[in-house]
């Protein structure tokens, strides 16, 4: 399924998500549509509880919507089962989390290699080492997460996100847990890689400056997309 320049890389249409809890129906997302073109950057902003993370999760195929559709890199996620969606994620996307989410038992290098290894191929330390060097951690490849600071852990996570050369990077508050200086450096790194590799970017953030660097801003309020 080759996409052309005119087709969006991520095409979210009329997406709704409801949770049922003790007889109550809670609509977290209501009829949201977003399109992200290859290489484009998109920020999802909004107050707490507005549905940002739910939108990100549904867009990445981490959950299934109540209604609406998601096309990711040409795949209709609604037609795939969990394992097929996982394969799509592995092939086309990368992830950066607010809490870094590194495997505590693996070294920095091993953490970066995980997505490659999930593909079942032979691990290629060279690529991973190069990425680690790029994020300034070339010397710390064999350190465990506990031996790294928060900013360093997030840089490892970024290296991991880019190691498969994804076409789309999902980032959930990537700088949320970092101090000002470190946050700026990490953000620069993400945008640099976005530029260099042509990776599209979808990030959830509270940071106005970060959102302002994106070409598209999606504002959510009470589960609905609102205009700025």
């Amino acid at each position: 399924m080759e996409d052309t320049a005119v087709q969006p890389l991520l095409d979210v249409r009329d997406l709704s998500k409801e949770y049922r809890n003790a007889g109550h129906v809670l609509a977290v997302l209501r009829g949201v549509s977003v399109a992200v073109m290859p290489g484009e950057t998109c920020a999802i902003v909004g107050p707490s509880g507005s549905g940002k993370t739910t939108l990100l999760g549904l867009a990445a195929g981490l959950d299934v919507p109540t209604s609406g559709s998601v096309r990711l890199a040409g795949h209709d996620l609604g037609a795939l089962d969990e394992d097929q969606r996982a394969a799509v994620r592995n092939e086309h996307t990368g992830f950066v989390f607010q809490n870094f989410q590194l495997f505590p038992t693996l070294t920095a290098l091993e953490n970066v290699l995980v997505p490659l290894e999930l593909r079942g191929g032979r691990s290629e330390p060279a690529v991973a080492l190069e990425l680690l060097a790029k994020v300034g951690l070339g010397e710390r490849a064999h350190h465990y997460p506990v031996q790294l600071s928060g900013g360093e852990q997030q840089r490892v996570a970024i290296a991991r996100a880019f190691v498969t050369r994804p076409r789309l990077l999902f980032a959930d508050e990537p700088t949320g847990n970092l101090d000002g200086d470190t946050a700026r450096r990490v953000a620069d790194m993400i945008f640099d890689l976005n530029r260099d590799a042509g990776t599209a970017l979808v990030l959830v953030t509270h940071d106005i400056d970060l959102a302002a660097r994106c070409s598209q801003v999606v504002r959510l309020r009470n589960g609905q997309r609102v205009e700025p």
């Binding site: 981490l62 969990e82 394992d83 996982a86 799509v88 607010q98 809490n99 038992t105």
Partner: protein, 847 residues
């Protein structure tokens, strides 16, 4: 501290703090339940046994007094019995062969010809019940159940004993006073005393034991008369057994057994306590941030400590209650399990005293183990609440840790001393336990280190990830390896020891070595038996004459005097036993000369006769080359001198002797012969036994298969206790494993979800989990097997004096079974981890 424990706030917080982890905590608590259950069941059993022994004291012997001798009772003996008064039964017993013509089976048995009303207390248990009367009427023989079944014989089947063609009237299940343990080699066959002559077995030189079972009159004088006649009984060399003596012996045996089983249960309890301690360790570590916050909010150290102490006490109590309920349930089943192993019937009864003792032991052990991780609560700084990476600095010397450690050691030693009632055994047990746990922990650590530093780069991703999980922080791999390894160790040691024993016997069955022995061959039958073997094309590997005799004096001192002399350390049995000696001109190939010179031939007048002693018996008698001995050979005294000492390889199935005379010294004495031959297989052996015993009914045969059976039987009886121990420790290991998996669940879930988010399939997650559990099980199997091989080698070399044998099959089985068990338990406990939705990871970020 006590004041903190009295504060209602502390109780409330302990309860509230447990909210998120109650199910987990209950699972930890169950770690000690199996140990408690075992203590309760065994304690109740012990009390039931003691009561049974008290209630059935006389039934333990079936009579008031039993006199026995190797000689027929003469006028002197009968006179003493008459003076004792009451009723009397006589029994003549010896080893011989029974034949079952129906199926063609032949087997060595202990023949007992009984006349009189024995047993006076209790009854012969038979199937059908009337068989005990039928055999007394001379209608046939009563055959031990196991043998009858082995040869497909039942009530009504034809049987032949010596020359007497008769039938089986019933199957024997229990005889008052007989312990089943001794009937394996020669199972019992009863016949009426007046039928004995029809067998024509007596008087052919067989080794016979004569017993008189007496029921004393119900007057008070009986005991006094017995006491006054004791010197006379000793003079007549009669062995005396009374119900009181039997009761004391049995009581002592029961107490020893109970102590042993309690130690067994204690091991399971300790293992459970280790499980609780490691669970508390993880629980407390997860709670340290809360502790820091509490301290920030102004909670005193004692109060925060008390919160977690209370939770630990609650764990202990839950475990004890669950264990007691379980123990109460299983103690009902125990008497049925032991039915065939005890010489008396037993009734189940729950003992509150035993339950109380178990509760005290359980609470003491679990709390003292839990204190160790709890101590870290005291050292949490409030600073940790605001600076996540706060480092408390290097660990300082903590006196409390040493105190708790000493307390744990003291409680283990104390319990062991209480159970064994012997300083040496108690300390030995505690030390053995410490060594076993220590070695297991050390081996576990070594293996984890090895697994970590192995170049795993070439393994598939799932395996590398799974193995890496083994050294994940908080993963308790060490504890789990000890928990699972201990059970493996016990089971595999048992299997290997059994295998070593049997292998050393089977090893004897090579080349042209003898593997069947024919004994009680009369001089006039020797040629006939040899001819019969020749007809079957069987070789006579060895033929030896046997003369029975007793020791009369050792280094000039009478054995009767030595036996009563308490300062003399010579074991009674070597002084009083009947020696079956032979004469020959040279050493056999199962023997090796250790010192002195072996004399092969002397003239009839030589005195003292130079004899060769087996090394062990010489050591027991305390004699060396050159020491004088004298033997009573059926009334004739022969003076001898120790000419040489020999080492004998007993495990060869051939006639071996403690004392070997030179040719020329014993020829005048009445002798029997023993022949050794070699059969190719069990069916040839059976055919040989059938043919020989048909022609010579008094000749008895024992073959290697029978010896193997006997060793198997004895080992399997000894193994009961060890199996029980292994069972409880294995189950405890499984519970500890469950607890550990449940503890690590949130971390594992997190990782699984992360993997899924990065594009891993559910199958990948499952494979990683499987790799982790299989790896854990494999390491536990290796640790257990390594230690077991060490223990089995030690037992074989130092206790059984044979070379150890490590059958690949047994070890491989353990190395497959343990990982499999761990894998199944692990995957069952991890259900749901691989299928949780990946969105959870984003949600957890928000929270």
């Amino acid at each position: 501290m006590m004041r903190a424990l009295m504060t209602p706030w502390v109780w409330r917080l302990a309860w509230r703090d447990s909210r998120s982890s109650r199910r987990r905590l209950v699972l930890y608590a169950l770690s000690i339940s199996l140990g408690i259950a075992a203590l309760v069941a065994i304690g109740s059993l012990g009390r039931a046994v003691r009561r049974a022994i008290d209630d059935q004291a006389k039934g333990l012997l079936g009579a008031d007094v039993v006199l026995s001798s190797r000689k027929p009772f003469g006028a002197d003996e009968r006179a003493v019995m008459d003076r004792l008064g009451g009723e009397r039964s006589d029994e003549v017993s010896f080893a011989s062969m029974i034949q079952f013509p129906g199926t063609g089976g032949t087997r060595l048995v202990n023949v007992r010809a009984l006349s009189g009303g024995f047993p006076y207390y209790g009854a012969l248990e038979t199937d059908p019940p009337g068989a005990a009367e039928a055999f007394r009427r001379g209608e046939g023989v009563l055959v031990e159940e196991g043998v009858a079944r082995q040869f497909g014989a039942g009530p009504g089947s034809p049987a032949k004993l010596g020359e007497w063609k008769t039938k089986v009237v019933g199957l024997l299940r229990r005889v008052p006073g007989d312990s089943v343990a001794f009937t394996t080699l020669a199972p019992r066959v009863y016949l009426a005393g007046d039928q004995l002559p029809r067998t024509k077995l007596l008087g052919r030189g067989a080794l016979v034991r004569y017993r008189a079972m007496l029921r004393l009159p119900d007057d008070a004088d009986a005991a006094r008369r017995l006491a006054s006649l004791r010197p006379r009984l000793r003079e007549l060399k009669l062995d005396v057994d009374t119900a009181e003596k039997r009761k004391a012996n049995l009581g002592k045996a029961a107490e020893n057994l109970n102590g042993f089983l309690n130690l067994v249960a204690f091991i399971a309890l300790l293992l459970g306590a280790v499980g609780i301690a490691s669970a508390i360790h993880v629980h407390v570590r997860q709670r340290l941030p809360h502790v820091a916050v509490l301290r920030c909010l102004g909670a005193p150290m004692a109060s925060t400590f008390a919160v977690y102490l209370l939770q630990s006490v609650a764990l202990g109590v839950i475990g004890i209650v669950a264990g007691t309920v379980l123990g109460a349930a299983i103690h009902h089943a125990v008497p049925a399990m032991l039915r065939d192993k005890l010489p008396f019937p037993l009734e189940a009864s729950f003992s509150w005293v035993a339950a109380g003792q178990a509760a005290v032991a359980g609470l003491g052990v679990s709390l003292s183990f839990a204190l160790m991780p709890l101590l870290s609560v005291r050292r949490v700084s409030p600073l940790a609440a605001i600076r996540a990476a706060y480092d408390a600095g290097p660990a300082r010397f903590d006196a409390a840790r040493w105190l708790v450690g000493a307390g744990i050691a003291a409680s283990v030693v104390g319990f062991a001393l209480l159970q064994t009632r012997s300083v040496r055994q108690g300390l030995g047990f505690a030390a053995g336990l410490a060594v076993a746990f220590g070695l297991l922990a050390l081996a576990a650590r070594g293996l984890v280190w090895l697994a970590r530093s192995l170049p795993t780069g070439r393994l598939p991703f799932a395996w590398r990830q799974g193995l890496a999980s083994l050294h994940r922080p908080n993963n308790r791999t060490g504890t789990l390896l000890v928990a699972l390894g201990l059970g493996t160790f016990l089971i595999v040691s048992l299997q290997l020891t059994r295998a070593s024993l049997l292998a050393s016997l089977r090893m004897a069955d090579v080349g042209k070595r003898a593997n069947a022995v024919l004994f009680d061959v009369q001089p006039d039958q020797l040629d006939g038996v040899v001819a019969a073997l020749g007809q079957l094309n069987l070789p006579v590997v060895e033929s030896a004459p046997i003369v029975t005799m007793r020791l009369k004096s050792v280094r000039g001192r009478l054995t009767t005097e030595l036996a009563t002399n308490r300062s003399d350390r010579t074991p009674g049995w070597v002084l009083q036993r009947e020696y079956r000696c032979t004469w020959r001109t040279n050493l056999a190939d199962s023997e090796r000369l250790v010192s002195g010179t072996f004399t092969g031939r002397v003239s009839a007048e030589t005195s003292p006769v130079p004899v060769s002693l087996e090394l062990g018996i010489a050591r027991d008698l305390g004699v060396e080359v050159g020491d004088r001995l004298s033997f009573d050979v059926q009334g004739q005294v022969i003076d001898a001198v120790v000419g040489s000492l020999r080492e004998v390889e007993w495990r060869q199935v051939r006639p071996n002797f403690f004392v070997v005379f030179p040719e020329g010294a014993l020829e005048a004495a009445p002798a029997m012969h023993v022949l050794a031959t070699r059969v190719a297989n069990p069916s040839e052996s059976a055919r040989m036994q059938r043919e020989v015993v048909q022609k010579f009914p008094n000749v008895s045969v024992i073959d290697l298969a029978l010896v193997l059976d006997t060793v198997e039987g004895v080992v399997s009886k000894v193994a009961l206790g060890i199996r029980l121990m292994a069972l409880f420790t294995v189950l405890t290991g499984v519970v500890v494993l469950l607890g550990a998996i449940v503890t690590g669940r949130s971390q594992r879930l997190q990782e699984a979800v992360l993997l899924r988010t990065l594009g891993g399939s559910r199958a990948t997650v499952r494979r990683i989990l499987a790799a982790e559990y299989a790896g854990l099980g494999l390491l536990a199997g290796i640790v257990g097997c390594l230690l077991a091989m060490g223990a089995a080698a030690g037992l074989a070399r130092f206790v059984f004096k044979t070379s150890p044998s490590f059958p690949v099959g047994e070890i491989a089985l353990a190395l497959v079974a343990v990982p499999l068990l761990t894998l199944v338990v692990g995957l069952l406990a991890s259900r749901g981890i691989s299928s949780s939705t990946p969105l959870a990871i984003l949600r957890s970020e928000q929270g």
